[in-house]
């Protein structure tokens, strides 16, 4: 199979991309902000009714409050590594190619969601909600990163003439 490559991913062998850490940080903050707010609205509000069909699975409100820092930390980790993946493997940036990568990454989560459905007493409604949520969350977050991040101008390595 021919490697299709993301648009803008193809590298010329003589060039190396330079990480633009300022844009990287802005892209990470934007991705984190979107993922956290989307997660709160989608999983916390829109899916609250579906989640409450299996109350035994979730921490009580007070217990959730004392573990809230883990939720923030988890989203930071996801945003950092999503930004890293997009910046390393779609260095030319662009919302479309990064959204493509984001959707593929979401498919990894979808696979895990299927497995979780088999082993935990989730309802089909929760499974479908998680799948749609992962696709939107990662697709849009990666598109945001792609729209913000572009590697700095490629540095051309001088090849000495022999």
């Amino acid at each position: 199979m021919k490697a299709p490559g993301f648009h803008g991913l193809t590298k010329k062998p003589q060039q190396t991309e330079i990480m633009d850490w300022k844009k990287f940080f802005i892209a990470f903050v934007a991705a984190f902000g979107f993922m956290f707010v989307f997660g709160f609205i989608w999983y916390g509000k829109l899916m609250q009714g579906a989640h409450m069909e299996v109350p035994a699975l979730w921490r009580p409100e007070a217990d959730f409050g004392s573990h809230f820092s883990w939720l923030v930390f988890g989203h930071i980790v996801m945003a950092v590594f999503l930004t890293l993946l997009c910046s390393k493997f779609v260095p030319a940036g662009g919302a479309g190619p990064c959204a493509h990568l984001g959707v593929l990454l979401a498919l990894v989560y979808v696979g895990n969601d299927f497995i979780t459905y088999a082993v935990q007493p989730l309802t089909m409604k929760i499974l479908c909600g998680w799948i749609v949520g992962a696709l939107i969350q990662f697709g849009v977050a990666a598109a945001i990163i792609g729209a913000i991040y572009k590697s700095a101008s490629p540095a051309t390595i001088q090849v000495p003439k022999s």
Partner: protein, 137 residues
């Protein structure tokens, strides 16, 4: 295309066997400590096809991501991809830990197994899948 399919099948077989050995056998007692969060065994076996579909989806997504942006880097690129995907999964696991009363020990052990799973999957996919250009050069 042929190597893509072989890489997918090999990755899927490994993920299936590793899942059975690590989660199904080695961690059996640790999972039992959080029994209230899981389906009864008979019910789980009735939904076993969802595990197969999930693992096949995971293997397919891995090979697709590798073929799209990592191919050509060989085994090292496969391992790098595996590590990054597992760290992303650990991020999601932290969010799960905040919302579901899993014992921390269980999530740590699942993450250790996940690292091994993703690294070996990266080795397998990186060793098998080669882009057309790399094979002809």
């Amino acid at each position: 295309m042929k190597r893509f399919i072989i890489a997918f099948i090999a990755a899927f077989i490994f993920i299936f066997l590793w899942g059975w050995f690590y989660n199904g056998t080695l961690l059996k007692d640790v999972f039992a400590e959080a029994q209230t969060l899981f389906r009864p065994r008979e019910e789980m076996m009735g939904l076993f096809h969802w595990i197969i579909i999930g693992q096949a989806g995971l293997a397919l997504a891995f090979v697709m991501i590798y073929a799209s942006g990592f191919a050509g880097g060989g085994i090292a690129a496969g391992v790098r991809l595996g590590i990054m995907l597992e760290i992303l999964a650990i991020g999601a696991r932290c969010a799960i830990y905040a919302t579901q009363p899993f014992p921390a020990k269980l999530l740590v052990l699942i993450s250790i197994g996940g690292f091994i799973e993703m690294i070996v999957t990266g080795v397998i996919v990186g060793a098998i899948y080669k882009p057309a250009a790399a094979r002809t050069s």
